[in-house]
Structures are given as structure tokens and as C-alpha cells.
């Protein structure tokens, strides 16, 4: 005899950091992803999806995740864990999308969009709408990615402020700090990724030109004109920053000319070490809608440069407002067992006319059909039909759809 336990009635809580999307939140979420897909497809983006579980080495090889980020990753041994190789829940989508594009031999330039979740330490699961423009040309690619993100937020009728920075400025500062040791340089880059340009301030205590540049750059968000002033200071204080700043000025000018409000902000954290060019954040309602920028993909066969972003779909859907419910508009009730087949046929007929219909009572239905031995009875709040024909029922339901 097999000894087994009886099932428990005790509810088991959700795993830590994980969230449900009940119908109400799901409707709002669909609004966000539909808006995003619609906008991105106008720019020629195609959808891609990558596995939830990736090799741990994919993320460590990319070199884009700081030790602090890796410490917050969900890692474990899978069925082949005896080999010592671990797997990891997707921490970020940029690295897997670049891998998937290379694996599939997708030709460059490639415009790829995704809607999928990432898994990060205490935050748990986060849903993102994002894109990767692999092989994107400088400036034009940046503007295109920015436009997709900003237009998505605008399509949801949400406010949107744009803040720009350039990862090349922070890299120029790290280069100028003169750290010959690879590990020390790496540690400073990690600090920059977490804290932005402010992390390099201490390295320039004895260099007045560089200090003047950093003071101006870190003085808080400024108008695009700030970039011109910074270029003037960088020529003597931090020459390596001039070229990145000129690129930033070009992007900021194009955005301003098309009527978008832009702020220059060097206090922005870079988050990921792979950013190499113009980097940005969209803000509204007291927080960030998403971040993106130009980056240098890692790995064999990777393009020289790419642009991408990830919008916080959870936060956007929380602010995007409710969408109409989508329950069945017609409830079909069979009066006796023999009427079930007729009810099923009736549902299929209504579906064929674009009317949502369900068997049994449905919450929110505007029409109730009863299939009985004498025919079909249709009832709505304003009128009813007895012994109706199929055509009459369809017409009745269409009028109240």
C-alpha cells in the first residue's frame, strides 16, 4: 500500500518578490504593452522573446553586471548542475536579446522589441517593455529609440520628462583618473554605474580644471545650453569628454527642435556597465518610467554598437488607468441537459459575429439567452424576445454589444 498524505487546505503564499496580475491590473498591463507594440511596430520593430532561464556565464561574460547586481541575481543549479555550471533567471533582457539575435543569425541592423519580465533580488519579478536596435547608427539610432519610448508614454496620456546624460563622459573621467590597475579601474566603473559621474569626484582632488568641470556637471539638471558650457570646461579640464559631449549636444538639439522638453543630468546612475553613449531616463509622476541608451554589446559577432531601453511596465500600468472590462457580453443558459449542444452551437455562431458569449451565467453580461425546449428566450435590461430564431438572437445581441 502506498502511504500518501491528504491534500492540505492551508493556503500557500506567493513566492517572495513575485506578483500576480489580476484581471484589473492585467487590463491596464495590456493597454501598456499594446501601446508599446503599436508605437514600436510603426518604427519597424519585430518582437522577440528569450528564455526565462539563461546560463549564469552569459551574464558574467558580458561583464555588464557589477558584483552588487550579480549578488542580487536568482542563480541555481539546473539538471546539469553536477557540472558546476549554474543557471540564472533573466536579470536583464539586453544581454539575452543580443545573444538570441546572434544565435539566430539575424542580420544587422536589427530592430527587436520585447515584453518580458526580469528577476532581481529584493525587487523580485519586474515586467518590462523594451527594445534593442542592434547596429544602430550614432545619433539617429539614439533619437529613434528615444522617440519610441517617449511616444509610448505619450500614447498612454502620461506626463514625460526626458533627462539625458552620456556614459562617455564618465568613461573619460575614469580614464583620466589614471588607474593603471585593471581591477581598480573596474571598481571605479562599478561605482560610476551605481552612482553616476559623482563617483569620480575624489579622483580629481588635485586637478582644478577637472574639478571645475565636475562641479558644473554635477550641479543638478540643466538646460541643453549646459552642454556647451561643459564642452568649454572640458577642453582644458577633461579633454576626453569633449567628443561625447558634442554627441550629446547633437541629440539634445534634435529633440528640442522637435518640441520635446529635455534636461541634461549627469547625476543619473548608469545602471549597467555596457552603456557607452547617450544614456537617458524618462520620468513622470514622481519616478522613472524607464531608462535606455547606447551600449556596446559583448560577444563574438556582436555589432559595434546598439541602442535600447526598458520601460517599467508595472509602473506604467499602475498609472495608465483602468481599461473597460472584457467579460462575455452574452450569457447562454441551457434549460435542460439536452439543450447543451444547442447552447454550444449558439455560442459559436455569436463568436462568428464578433460577439463574446459564454455558457452559464456571466458577470457583467448585457444579454441573457435561455435555450429551452420551446426555443431561445433573449433578455436584456431594455427588452426581451420569446422563441426567437437564430438570426433574431444575433441581431438582438449585436444591437446591445
Amino acid at each position: 500500500m502506498t502511504e500518501t498524505a491528504t491534500p492540505s487546505a492551508t493556503p500557500v503564499p506567493r513566492a517572495r518578490g513575485m506578483r500576480d496580475l489580476p484581471p484589473e491590473r492585467m487590463r491596464a498591463f495590456r493597454r501598456v504593452e499594446d501601446a508599446f507594440r503599436r508605437v514600436a511596430r510603426q518604427w519597424g520593430y519585430e518582437e522577440i522573446r528569450t528564455p526565462t532561464v539563461e546560463s549564469y556565464s552569459l551574464f558574467t561574460s558580458a561583464g555588464a553586471l557589477s558584483p552588487e547586481m550579480l549578488a542580487g541575481a536568482y542563480t541555481f543549479l539546473d539538471w546539469d548542475g553536477w557540472s558546476g555550471e549554474r543557471v540564472m533567471l533573466r536579470y536583464d533582457s539586453t544581454i539575452p536579446v543580443a545573444r538570441a539575435a546572434a544565435d539566430a543569425g539575424i542580420e544587422l541592423p536589427a530592430r527587436l522589441l520585447y515584453v518580458q519580465s526580469v528577476f532581481r533580488g529584493a525587487e523580485g519579478e519586474e515586467w518590462q517593455c523594451g527594445l534593442e536596435y542592434l547596429g544602430a547608427p550614432p545619433v539617429a539610432g539614439d533619437l529613434e529609440a528615444l522617440a519610441v519610448a517617449a511616444d509610448t508614454v505619450a500614447a498612454l496620456d502620461l506626463p514625460c520628462d526626458l533627462r539625458l546624460t552620456h556614459a562617455g563622459v564618465a568613461r573619460a573621467a575614469v580614464d583620466a583618473a589614471g588607474l593603471s590597475d585593471a581591477l581598480a579601474r573596474r571598481a571605479l566603473l562599478d561605482d560610476v554605474a551605481g552612482n553616476g559621474l559623482a563617483a569620480v569626484r575624489e579622483a580629481f582632488a588635485e586637478q582644478p580644471g577637472a574639478r571645475a568641470f565636475l562641479r558644473a556637471a554635477l550641479g543638478g539638471p540643466g538646460e541643453p545650453a549646459l552642454v556647451g558650457n561643459l564642452i568649454a570646461l572640458a577642453r582644458t579640464g577633461l579633454p576626453g569628454a569633449v567628443a561625447p559631449l558634442e554627441e550629446l549636444r547633437e541629440v539634445a538639439a534634435a529633440l528640442t527642435e522637435t518640441g520635446r522638453a529635455v534636461a541634461i543630468d549627469f547625476t543619473l546612475p548608469l545602471d549597467f556597465d555596457y552603456y557607452s553613449g547617450v544614456t537617458w531616463e524618462l520620468r513622470g509622476e514622481g519616478g522613472a518610467w524607464g531608462r535606455g541608451g547606447r551600449y556596446q554589446p559583448a560577444g563574438a559577432g556582436a555589432p559595434a554598437s546598439a541602442c535600447g531601453f526598458a520601460l517599467d511596465a508595472d509602473r506604467l500600468s499602475a498609472h495608465a488607468g483602468d481599461a473597460p472590462t472584457r467579460g462575455a457580453s452574452v450569457a447562454i443558459v441551457a434549460e435542460r441537459e439536452a439543450g447543451l449542444a444547442d447552447a454550444l452551437r449558439l455560442a459559436s455562431t455569436l463568436h462568428g459575429h464578433g460577439i463574446s458569449a459564454a455558457l452559464g451565467d456571466a458577470r457583467g453580461a448585457t444579454v441573457r439567452l435561455v435555450v429551452g425546449p420551446e426555443g431561445i428566450t433573449a433578455t436584456a435590461s431594455d427588452s426581451s424576445l420569446e422563441r426567437a430564431t437564430l438570426d433574431e438572437v444575433v441581431r438582438f445581441a449585436l444591437q446591445r454589444k
Binding site: A5, T6, T10, S61, P67, A71, W82, G84, R86, L183
Partner: protein, 494 residues
């Protein structure tokens, strides 16, 4: 008036192993002597004593976890285990209250002398792609690897004998020792000191904020020493590349166990007429010499063997059925299998409960576990077997607690069930425990790779044949002895 629930008594987690004696002496000197904690005792728990607290004995690495979980308010353990927990779970509720006098522990990144590195030289990170890191401290080692930005690496998360791995079976090792000289005494080169700490009193952060722990803290605080634990990740690397050693496929690689399994393995080898120079009944060196030319031998922990054989580091090993089944419970497709049952070191594994538990069989117990209204807590040094067992019984809601040892202390307060092995049952009886229905009979056995890497399959067959003969000879001898005893009994009765 409704009676107020009695507050849970204060709990103190104290270490077994090398720290048991010095910690016991220190507690006694501070007026906190724990009856039954003296060296050599097999007692692992106490009832609430006259000072209002109870104690439990744990393996050191389990202590910060138990304190973080809130099962114990206070604990005493090496700083290194606190650092190991925090490296992976920085948000855990563990507060270091103070340092006690005791041995220092340092954690060193080290390499074999042939790796081309001098003491104090962190190898050039560019030479470390695909590096194999052996350690008993996986969380600190991961932290080190991420700081070094190792692109790809294999982490050998071991039960012990880490120093045996470089250079053939690991390129670098992370070991916990007394100091750099101790690393050198192990035959390795110390490259970077990752951590230094001593013995600490730890508290659950909530307990420290909200419970009166003074009965333990006050006497101990007078013994506190000004010692801080320090974690030092490397911020400089040399440009010296790491030289690596690959395994030799032209030899048969055999792993033999140390620890409790050693005397049984020695006996099985003796039955087969095989004497390995440097592998005795009790003593051994890491690399004994085989009497059969072409067999390369290394002594490692039996718990680590199935994975090492699956990875191809060894072609064959003497381990246990328990360890193989535990490995296959996690990795059913792993390319390792039992090649020969050596039929020694026999013991049973099964669910262990407290003597007060109101059930005699697993069947009776199931009804009780199903009604708990919370997860059934199952502690085990065999988490894979524990999970497999619970799955087989369809226990609906379980929490598997992997533990490092001193397992008898967990039931009943910190776990409902222990999945544990017992040979004679002595330790269970001493700790007021008993086994329900055992589900696995374990013996020592030879495990082998399903597709060995060695080109010397002839040696593998020769070794197995010799061991098979040994098993047959031992069985025949046993039968003869039994027949003799029977005859003697019959004669005596005539």
C-alpha cells in the same frame, strides 16, 4: 481571564567541532556553564536551564542561519560563517554583538605552486576565463569572482578537503585557515587574503531590539575583545597569468574517501588485496600511491565524489549509496552510476522524530503532518533525499532545511522531521529521538562515470574485478564465520 501564552525561552546556539571545547571553557568561566556541552558529550540540546535559556549545539556554519531565521536569539560561531551568510543574503537579520577570545580564521585565495604565481600575486584576470574554483565557502567565492570580473568560471562547492584539489581538479582554491603560513603548510601558495575574523557572538536583530537577552549577553560582554572581522576584496591584480594543469586521460583516476568512510574503504581494499601506500585505516595522505601502475589516487570527501566523477575529474570513486542517491535526486541525468556494491558501512536512512511524537509509523505520522496547518519542516544533511521522500508521500506543503551536521539538535523545536542515517541508533537515543520507517539501506560502493574519460579502461576493469573478488571473499568469510557460530551453538546445546 484568558491565560497569557508563556514567552518562548531565550535560545542560544553553540558550536560543535573544534570550537566546542574553548567555547565551553569560556562559558564556564563566565558563569554560563552548559551541562552536557563539555567536550566528548554527544548531547546536542538542553531543556531550559536555571538562568532561563536553553542551548542547542550546531555545526558552526548553521549557527548564523538559525539565528537569522529567529530559531535562536543568540549564537556563538566563527566570523567567517557570518560573512559567508551575508555575502549572499545581505539583508539577513543577524547582528554581530561582539568578539570573543578565540582562534582567528582567515580566508585565502590560493593556487598550487606550479601555477606560476608568487605569494601575494592575484593572477591577471584576463587569464582566468573558464577557471575552476574549489571552496567550502561558495558565497564568498562568488563575491570574489564577481569582483575579479571572471567571465566564465566553475565553482566547485565542496564539503571539504579543498586543499586537495589544485592543480589537477581546480585551478584556484579558496580556503579557511589560521593564516598564510597555514596555506603554505597545505602545500599551496597564498595569493590574496579575502577575509579575517575570529569568534563572535551573534544575535537575531529582532531579538536584540525586543527581547531581554541580558542573561547571556551581560556575562559574555565582559569577555569581549577588540577584534573586528574584515572582508578585503582585491583591488589590484598582477599581470602574471595563471598556469593551469589539465587532467591526464592516460591514467585511471580513483578517488578514495576520508573521514568516517575511510576505515570501511580500507577494509574493502584489503579484502581485494589492494594496499595503497599512504592510505591506512585511520591515517592518509592526499595522494596515496597505487599498487597498480597507471592508477592515480586522491583522497577527498565522499559527499563530493558523485559530482567529481560526473564532471570527469575522476573515473571511479569509493563513495556511498547514500551520496550517490542524494546526487541523483538533484541531477537524475548525471552521468555517474554504481559500479559495485562493497556491502560495508551498512546503515539505514529514514524519518526521525522526537520520542514524544504521537505516531509509531510513517502512515500514522502522515495524518498528523497533514493537519499541521503550516509547512512540515524537514531538516537533513540529505536535502535531495528528503525532498524525494516527501514527494513520494505527497506531503502537500514542506520546508526542506539543508543542514551541515549535528542534525539531532533540530527536532522537535526547529524541524518536525529529520531525514537521517543511523547505524546503531545510539546518537538518536541519547537525543530522545527515534526513527519511523527507514526508506533506504546504504552501504559503501564504487561509483563510476558512465563514459569514463580515461583511455585505460583495462585498468578500470582490473580494479573492479579485484574489488568484486574482495567482496566475494569477504562474503564467503562471513558465511563461514556464521556457519561456525551456528555449529558452535548447536554443539554447545548438545
Amino acid at each position: 481571564m484568558k491565560p497569557q501564552p508563556q514567552p518562548k525561552p531565550l535560545g542560544l546556539a553553540v558550536p560543535t567541532g573544534a570550537l566546542r571545547e574553548p567555547v565551553g571553557d569560556l562559558l564556564a568561566a563566565r558563569g554560563l556553564a552548559l551541562d552536557g556541552y563539555e567536550a566528548g558529550s554527544r548531547l546536542l540540546r538542553s531543556e531550559v536551564n536555571e538562568r532561563g535559556f536553553r542551548f542547542r549545539v550546531f555545526r558552526e556554519r548553521d549557527i548564523p542561519i538559525q539565528v537569522a531565521l529567529g530559531n535562536y536569539d543568540l549564537g556563538i560561531c566563527g566570523d567567517v560563517w557570518i560573512a559567508e551568510l551575508r555575502a549572499r543574503f545581505p539583508g539577513q537579520q543577524v547582528a554581530r554583538v561582539g568578539a570573543l577570545p578565540g582562534p582567528a580564521t582567515e580566508v585565502w585565495l590560493c593556487a598550487a605552486p606550479g601555477a606560476g604565481l608568487e605569494a601575494g600575486q592575484v593572477p591577471d584576470p584576463a587569464s582566468l576565463d573558464g577557471v575552476r574554483l574549489a571552496t567550502e565557502l561558495p558565497n564568498l567565492t562568488d563575491l570574489l569572482a564577481s569582483r575579479l570580473r571572471l567571465p566564465r568560471y566553475t565553482l566547485l562547492d565542496l564539503y571539504g578537503s579543498v586543499e586537495a584539489y589544485p592543480p589537477e581538479d581546480a585551478d584556484l582554491a579558496v580556503v579557511a585557515v589560521a593564516d598564510a603560513a597555514a596555506v603554505e603548510a597545505l602545500g599551496l601558495t597564498p595569493l590574496h587574503r579575502l577575509f579575517r575574523g575570529g569568534v563572535a557572538v551573534v544575535a537575531n536583530a529582532d531579538s536584540l531590539r525586543s527581547r531581554d537577552c541580558s542573561a547571556v549577553i551581560e556575562p559574555l560582554s565582559a569577555a569581549f575583545v577588540p577584534s573586528e572581522a574584515s572582508l578585503t576584496l582585491p583591488d589590484r591584480a598582477s599581470d602574471a597569468p595563471l598556469r593551469r594543469t589539465a587532467r591526464d586521460a592516460g591514467v585511471l583516476r580513483l578517488a578514495l574517501p576520508d573521514g568516517h568512510a575511510q576505515r570501511h574503504t580500507f577494509a574493502a581494499l584489503a579484502d581485494a588485496g589492494l594496499a595503497f601506500d599512504g592510505y591506512g585505516e585511520r591515517d592518509c595522505v592526499r595522494r596515496p600511491v597505487s599498487p597498480i601502475e597507471g592508477i592515480e589516487v586522491k583522497v577527498v570527501r565522499p559527499q563530493d565524489m558523485p559530482a567529481l566523477v560526473a564532471m570527469g575529474a575522476f573515473d571511479v570513486a569509493v563513495s556511498g549509496v547514500d551520496r550517490l542517491r542524494e546526487h541523483l535526486a538533484f541531477f537524475p541525468g548525471s552521468p555517474v552510476e554504481m559500479a559495485l556494491d562493497l556491502r560495508r558501512s551498512r546503515y539505514r536512512i529514514g524519518p526521525v522524530v522526537h520520542n514524544d511524537f504521537p505516531a509509531e509509523t510513517t502512515q500514522e505520522a502522515l495524518a498528523i503532518w497533514s493537519r499541521l496547518g503550516r509547512p512540515v519542516r524537514i531538516a537533513s544533511e540529505f536535502p535531495g533525499l528528503a525532498e524525494e521522500w516527501a514527494r513520494g508521500l505527497r506531503l502537500p506543503h514542506t520546508a526542506i532545511i539543508p543542514i551541515a551536521g549535528a542534525s539531532e539538535a533540530f527536532v522537535p523545536e526547529d524541524a518536525d522531521i529529520l531525514i537521517e542515517g543511523t547505524e546503531t541508533g545510539t546518537s538518536l537515543r541519547v537525543n530522545n529521538l527515534r526513527m519511523l520507517d527507514p526508506f533506504l539501506d546504504s552501504t559503501n560502493c564504487v561509483i563510476a562515470a558512465t563514459e569514463p574519460r580515461t583511455s585505460r579502461l583495462d585498468l578500470l576493469e582490473l580494479l573492479l574485478e579485484r574489488l568484486r573478488e574482495g567482496v566475494r571473499a569477504a562474503a564467503a568469510e562471513e558465511e563461514e564465520a556464521e556457519a561456525g557460530a551456528l555449529a558452535q551453538g548447536a554443539g554447545g546445546g548438545a
